[in-house]
Every structure is written in C-alpha cells, then in structure tokens.
C-alpha cells in the first residue's frame, strides 16, 4: 500500500484552536525515526529477532521474525531438509514450545498453539537483502485471566547464539490505543555478568473501549490529513460546487443556498459510499488488494479534477461521489481490516474510523468553503478553479504512475512538499476573497 506519511499544518493549528485532544500524526513519524535510529545504533551486522505481541481479549498473539541462518544454526537443521511440511511444522512447534513460555502472575503457563511459518525476503540498512522466517503462535490461558500482566520466558535462538537478541514489541493492544503503531517493550538478551537469559515481566496499563475508540477516531482523522490524495480529492470536489452550468461550461455563482445544497449532497453521497465499503471490506465480505484500489483512487481524483475544469457529470454528482466513496472506503478497509479484531472492537473501529474521517473532512470544508463562497462571486474565481484543478490533475496522473510502477516520482514528491503549505494557501485564499469583496463594495458605494 502506498502510505503517504506527510503532515499538513492545518491540523497542528486546528487542534489547538478546536481543542481536539492529542491528535499527533507527526509524532508517529518521529517515533518511528527514533525507534529506527536507536536500533541502528545498537545494530549488530546480522539483524536480530523481532518479536511482535498482539494483546487479544482471550489470547496473546505472537509473531517471531528472525534471519534464517541464525534460526537454522539454533534449530540444528535446515528448513529445506524437511521433505514433509507436516513434520517440519511439528518440529518447529516442539522447538518453540521448548524455548518460549508465558506465565501469569499466579505462575500458570499459557497454552501455546502453533500457527505456522513463512519464509520471506527483507531488507536491512546494514546488510541489504536477506531471508527471514516468520513464525506465528498463540498463547491462551486455560482459565480466563487478566491478559495485561504476564512473564515472558524466551530463549529461542539465544540458547545457541549468545550474541543474539530478541526485540520485544507490542503491535496490537486496541484497548490501550496501540492500533497501527508499534511500542518497543525491551530486549531479551544474555545477561553477560550472570551468564543467563532473564525473563521479562510485562505489565500493560489498563485500557478501555473508550480509549481504543478515541485512538481509532484519531487514526481516521490522520488518514485524511496525512493522505494528501484524499485531501486533494475533497478539495477538488469543492471547487466547482458554488457554480452554475451554462452551455456545458462552468458559469457564475449560483447562490449560497444552491452551493450548500450541492455540497451537502456530494459529501453525504461520498460518505455513504465509503462507509458501505469500509463496513463490507472490514468484515471481509469484499476485499481488494491495495494496489488496484490505490490506482482507482488516483483515477477518481483525476476525473474529479477534469470535472472541475469542465462539467462532466453535472447533476449526477451524487452518483459519481458515492461511486468514488465506494472506492475510497475499500482503501480504509484495507487499513482497519488488518487489525484482525473480534466483533465488538471491530464495530467500534469501523464507526470510530469513519467518524474520524468525517470530522476531518468537515474541517477541511469549513477551512476552504468560506473563501470559495466569497471568491466565486467574481470572474477571477475561474483562475482559482482552473489552477486548483490543473494542479490536482497533474498530481493525480503522477500518483497513477507512482502506484502502477511502485516508484515515487518528482511530481509526487513535490506535491507532498507543497501539501505542507496547505494552511498558508487557505489563508491567502481567504485574504484574497476578503480584499475582492471590499473592493467591490467600495466601487458600489
């Protein structure tokens, strides 16, 4: 999936003015940076094991990613030597049962369940491409217990390779707001001075449905604010909204009531569209791979940009907007769907994410609409409309190419840079509109 991780100033300012608690997409980015930075400082030439924990309501999910050479050295056999995949799975399950144990504070062990393995190629900053193997396990307490406090005894690979480490991360703790980021808990390694591997006692702050809901709402918001493509799509739909059509061309200002009605219809249609596919997609009923969906989104932006230049589907905007909504919703579903949640949290995620998207879209409309309304009285508005539409159109073509060939290009990089100035642009637009209004009133007097 092409994840556009750029931040727009609007939000930084807005969150202070409108007081939206704690929305900080930039911080995710810095966090990742710090994480990567710190890890590379301590990096060993060969990458270490990455252990990813998912806290579920009745079990603990675990994914173990480790370089194949190190694993085979510790395992004592080559994965390829097994002719029978059942025998290999059984041998791997036994190996990890011997080397991982999870107990609760009452010292009861949680029951491991083998979830299979897969070999994949990964890239490391220091050694380049290498093959790693990914193991999946689940640990389930016999009796329902507090899943938020446990001890991890782990010595897989380390029992053989004394210089190996396992980095322990939480990748999913929905109730505590860990949804699409990673929290590093610590490192399990040999304690050199005592010559042993110490267990890690893990405690997680108590979370709640409300906390999880709040975070998924913020995630929905950041999806629009950080996704320059979604943002431009909304803006380019707004551009011709105040205008009437005459002779297959955009003509003059159609009045405030006319504009608001059109806006209301477009936005509602788009919302209904993406809500439907977000729901269907997240529930797994409709699931499309990310790449074609992302290409379709870029295409929808291109069509909307052309529509802002010359009306293509005037009067049928509802249908077009809801159709595009369906496409955009599929992309949202790809994000929420990968969380693999149980029904209650899944529904809360769908609703929270959708509301976050909605809220952000409303903010964008509120930020730009007054300027457009004020400016669209004047003939010079066509310059604004054409400028915005052409800019968006070029960006859309660049995105289509980027997503087709999976390689970013000069234009997409430039668009991301320009997106940083969205707020000053909005400010200038507003200032220009006000000046025009003042001038015209002075003339009338």
């Amino acid at each position: 999936m092409i994840k556009i991780k750029n931040f727009i100033l609007i939000i930084l300012i807005l969150q202070h003015k409108i007081n939206i608690a704690g929305f900080k997409p930039l911080r995710y980015f810095i966090f990742l940076g710090i994480l990567c930075g710190t890890m590379s400082l301590k990096a060993h030439p060969m990458p270490n094991t990455l252990l990813q924990l998912s806290i579920r309501s009745d079990y603990l999910g675990m994914k173990i990613a480790t370089p194949i050479p190190d694993f085979e050295l510790a395992f004592g056999q080559h994965l390829e030597d097994f002719k029978d995949s059942n025998a290999l799975n059984a041998a791997l399950a036994t190996y990890f049962e011997q080397h991982i144990r999870i107990t609760d504070p009452q010292k009861h062990s949680w029951k491991p369940k083998w979830g299979g393995y897969q070999v994949q190629e990964t890239t490391d900053a220091m050694i380049g491409k290498y093959k790693e193997v990914l193991f999946e396990l689940q640990f389930k307490p016999d009796v329902p217990t507090n899943m938020r406090q446990f001890t991890l005894f782990y010595d897989a690979i380390l029992h053989k390779i004394q210089t190996h480490k396992a980095l322990i991360n939480i990748v999913q703790d929905w109730d505590n707001g860990i949804q699409d980021q990673t929290q590093l808990l610590g490192v399990i390694e040999w304690d050199i001075s005592t010559n042993q591997i110490l267990p890690m006692h893990v405690s997680l702050e108590n979370g709640s449905y409300w906390k999880g809901f709040k975070r998924i709402f913020q995630l929905g918001m950041s999806h629009i604010s950080e996704g320059t493509d979604h943002l431009l799509f909304v803006l380019v739909l707004l551009l011709p909204a105040p205008l009437l059509v005459s002779g297959r061309k955009w003509s003059i200002f159609g009045g405030i009531r006319y504009t608001l009605m059109r806006l209301f219809k477009i936005i509602t249609a788009f919302t209904l569209g993406h809500s439907l596919t977000l729901l269907l997609g997240t529930l797994g009923w409709v699931r499309l791979p990310a790449q074609p969906v992302e290409i379709l989104i870029a295409f929808s932006i291109l069509v909307s940009a052309i529509h802002a230049i010359k009306p293509l589907f005037y009067g049928k905007e509802i249908w077009i907007a809801s159709g595009f909504g369906l496409v955009h919703g599929l992309a949202f579903a790809n994000l929420v769907g990968k969380f693999e949640l149980e029904p209650a949290r899944l529904m809360l995620s769908i609703v929270g994410f959708n509301l976050g998207i909605e809220w952000m879209q409303c903010l964008v409309v509120l930020l730009f609409m007054p300027s457009l309304l004020l400016w669209s009285h004047f003939s010079s508005y066509s310059w604004i409309r054409l400028g915005g539409a052409i800019f968006t159109g070029i960006a859309a073509i660049a995105w289509i190419s980027e997503r087709l060939f999976e390689k970013s290009n000069v234009i997409t990089i430039l668009v991301e840079k320009i997106a940083h100035y969205a707020l000053p642009v909005a400010g200038l637009l507003f200032l220009g509109a006000i000046l025009l209004q003042i001038r015209s009133r002075l003339r009338l007097n």
Binding site: A21, G22, K24, R27, Y28, I30, F31, I34, L35, T38, S40, L41, K42, A43, H44, P45, M46, D70, L73, P105, M126, I127, Q149, T151, H159, K160, I161, Q162, T163, H164, I168, I170, D173, N176, G177, I178, Q181, Q183, L184, L185, G186, W190, I192, S193, T194, N195, L198, P199, M200, H201, V202, S203, L204, E205, G207, K211, R215
Partner: protein
C-alpha cells in the same frame, strides 16, 4: 606468591619463544631507550592544540565524563558518529601534530601500536575504494581530549574511527587505563597501500590460534564453549558487564610453553600502547596469569565464521570474533577487544565502586522512548517481588495520571503506558515501595 614472582621473572626473560609464528615480527626495543613519559604526551597534546583554530579547539577539547568516554563504536562513523576532531578536517600541519601525539602514546613494535593504526587507516582507504564508499577513509578518524591534557587531574586521549578505538586515561600524570581498546579490520587479507602490503590484526589471530592449537585435545574440550558467538560480547556500550564467573580452561593447569603462548596472545593487544606502559601492564597480567581463563567457540584455527576466542583474567579481558564480511562479502573479518576488569576508562563508571545500589529494591529505572510521543515503556528491575506504586506529576507536583499500585515480580519489568492525553512538557514519575525505596525520573512529552 614467591612462585608467581619467579614465574613472571622467568617469563619476562623468555619473552619471544622459538615457536613464535613467522608473521609476528620481532619487537623492536629501540623505543625502550627513550620511552614517552606522560609529560611528553601532555606536551605533544598541547603542541597539537596550539595548531588548532578556536573553533577546532572546541570540537577537540571536551569534558571528561563517562558518557563522552563511552562514545566509541565498531560501526562506520556514518552509522555511529564519533566525538572529537575529524582527521579529514585537519590541515597537513595539524594532522602531523596529531599523529605525533598518537605515535607517542602507542607502541612502537612492528604491526602493533602506531604501525597497526596506520594499517587500519589504510584498510579503511582500501574499503572506501573497493565498494565501501565515502563512509570509509583515513579522514574518517577522530581525536578527542576528554578533560584537559595536564600532569594533574584526569583526562583521556581518545582516538578512533570505524574499526579502531583507543582510550588512554591519565590521572595526575599516571596512565590509569589503556582500555577499552577495540581493533578490527576489513579486508581480512593482505592488501596494498602505496608501496606496502599490510595485514593488520593477523598477528592477533595467529597468536590466539597458536595459543589454542598448543592445547591438548582434553584441554581444548575444557576450553570450548557450547554456544555460538557471532560477535564479541563486550562491544561498544557493554561497559562493566564482565561475567561474574569465568568460563573455559584455567591457565594454571597449562605447562610453561602453553602459558607463554597465552602471554604472547595478550601481548598483541597490550603492546598497542606505549612500550614502557605496556611492560607495566604485562607484568600485572603475568602475575595474574594462573587465575586467567581461556575459552573458545568454533574451531581452534580461528579461520571459520563465528570462531571466537576469549582470555579472561582478574584484569585482562580479550575477545576475538571472526564474522562475515560487510563490504567484502566473500571473506570473513574479525572484531576484537581488549578490556580490563578494573582499568576500563581508568575505573570510571565501575559499578562495584558504588555499592549503594545494592540496598535498593528498585534499580535501573528508565523509560523508552523519551521524549514520549504517545506510548512509552517504563523499564525497571526489582531485587524481589514487591508492590510498587507508580505516580506521575508535573513539575509543580500535580498528579497527571491516576496513581497505580501493582504487584511486580523480581527481575526485569516492563510497563507499557499510554500518555497520549498528556500535554507537551516535562514530568516526573516515581516508583515507590512503601517504607522501602523510591526512584524518580524525568520524562519529556512532545
């Protein structure tokens, strides 16, 4: 005691046995006639400082503390920046003065001391020209003064780069620490540099291999470790973590020839510093030889990937590890370190000198990441199971999270916290066992 003294006297006399591998050139004794005194080193340090501009001086002359002393690494400088002034930023005159200082502080033997450093600088030039790029060059080496070079007070002469770390600590004119001293090389094969052909760190490998292959099969079995080492254990950042129990084969069980081979191996590291100082340290290590252990993993020839050797005594700690190539992928390359169990950084940071910690149930408290974005993990250790109260306040002492009281188990603990609702600023968190101890730390929220 008498025996040990006698042995050391004997070994001192028996310095170079006939079994010495050919690649190790005989040590020159020229320098012994005019040893560098600390006064000379201080003079050369000041002479170098005089060549620097005011700006350069602020880069080179730093404060003496453990944090600065620990800023060495085995990674290219582009991965882990070093402190001090970069050779590449010095004029020819300045560089000459810097090298004169480094030469005075290091050994004069062939392939060791200063000669070895020249070879390691050249090795990075070779790497740069053979696929490594600009991250590797002789200009990517640094020199720093931690504390002001003088005959009084404590200061460290720190120099190093990609595969080299040299740390001489002086107090009141006396060398009190010559470690951690890291040496490694890639390419690990003879390479040309101008008219010369170099093969640094080969001498260390040969001496260590001679030490191992000189052992009987039974002795080898005792010395062999069950685990695999893909690198040295006590690399950068692993200060003062020496194992409480030594493993492998105790040198006291070795015969005289075998003991000599152990000392020869140690000497390939100790002779990297000034010849006279090296002799003083060698005498100490010779006296401690019977309490020293040797251990290895992999093969005794030290030619295969993941081969590993360790010499661990009351003072000396040497590790040598053969690992895969980074720039030249087709060959292995070694990492090695000489540390001293009491003398690293001249003793600075040695935890056994601050025993107050032992009385505390909660220790090693920190949080990661700090500054905090949304989530953070508090990490702490407990000496026994305990109920810990965790509070967090702003700098005015107002509580900002609901206090938590939980039972935690002895050992490593991690507590994941969500601080998304906190506004940016500085906070204090406190871990407290009622009636026992209390630890407070600062936390920054972005």
């Amino acid at each position: 005691m008498f025996f040990a003294t006698l042995l050391s006297a004997f070994l001192g006399w028996w310095e170079r046995p006939a079994t010495q591998p050919k690649t190790v050139a005989p040590r020159t004794t020229q320098k012994l006639l005019s040893p560098s005194t600390t006064q000379e080193i201080v003079n050369l340090a000041n002479a170098f400082k005089q060549t620097l501009t005011a700006t350069q001086l602020t880069t080179a002359q730093l404060t003496y503390n453990l944090a600065n002393a620990q800023k060495w690494s085995n990674l290219p400088v582009t991965f882990t920046p070093r402190i001090g002034i970069r050779f590449g930023d010095l004029t020819a005159i300045q560089l000459t003065a810097a090298k004169a200082l480094i030469r005075a502080a290091s050994g004069s033997g062939a392939n060791e001391g200063y000669a070895e450093m020249e070879q390691l600088w050249a090795a990075d030039e070779y790497l740069g020209a053979n696929g490594g790029g600009t991250a590797y060059s002789a200009g990517q080496y640094y020199l720093a003064f931690l504390g002001t070079p003088a005959m009084t007070g404590t200061w460290e002469l720190q120099t190093g780069g990609h595969h080299l770390a040299f740390a001489n600590t002086y107090r009141d004119g006396i060398l009190i620490g010559a470690t951690p001293s890291f040496r490694a090389v890639e390419p690990f094969a003879p390479f040309a540099s101008g008219a010369n052909t170099y093969e640094p760190i080969r001498q260390e490998r040969d001496a260590l291999a001679a030490m191992l292959t000189g052992l009987s099969a039974t002795q080898l079995a005792t010395a062999q470790l069950p685990t695999v080492f893909t690198d040295i254990l006590l690399g950068p950042g692993r200060d003062w973590q020496f194992p409480t129990t030594r493993v492998g084969l105790q040198v006291s069980t070795l015969n005289a020839t075998q003991k000599t081979l152990v000392l020869d191996a140690i000497r390939t590291y100790v002779s990297d510093i000034d010849d006279v100082e090296a002799e003083t340290i060698m005498t100490r290590y010779t006296n401690q030889l019977d309490q020293t252990y040797i251990a290895f993993s992999g093969t005794a020839a030290i030619t295969t990937k993941n081969d590993y050797v360790r010499i661990d005594g009351p003072g000396v700690w040497i590790e040598y590890s053969l690992q895969g190539g980074i720039v030249i992928r087709t060959a292995n390359h070694p990492h090695s370190i000489w540390r001293d169990r009491t003398g690293d950084y001249g003793g600075t940071g040695n935890p056994t000198s601050s025993i107050k910690n032992l009385a505390e149930t909660i220790f090693s408290v920190d949080n990661y990441p700090n500054p905090v974005l949304n989530q953070t993990t508090l990490r702490f250790n407990l000496r026994q199971d305990a109920t810990v109260k965790i509070t967090m306040t702003d700098l005015a002492g107002r509580e900002v999270i609901t206090p938590m009281q939980r039972k935690f188990m002895a050992g490593n603990n991690v507590l994941a916290l969500d601080l998304n609702d906190l506004s940016a600023g500085t906070y204090l968190y406190t871990l407290e066992i009622e009636g026992a101890n209390k630890v407070s730390k600062k936390l920054f929220k972005q």
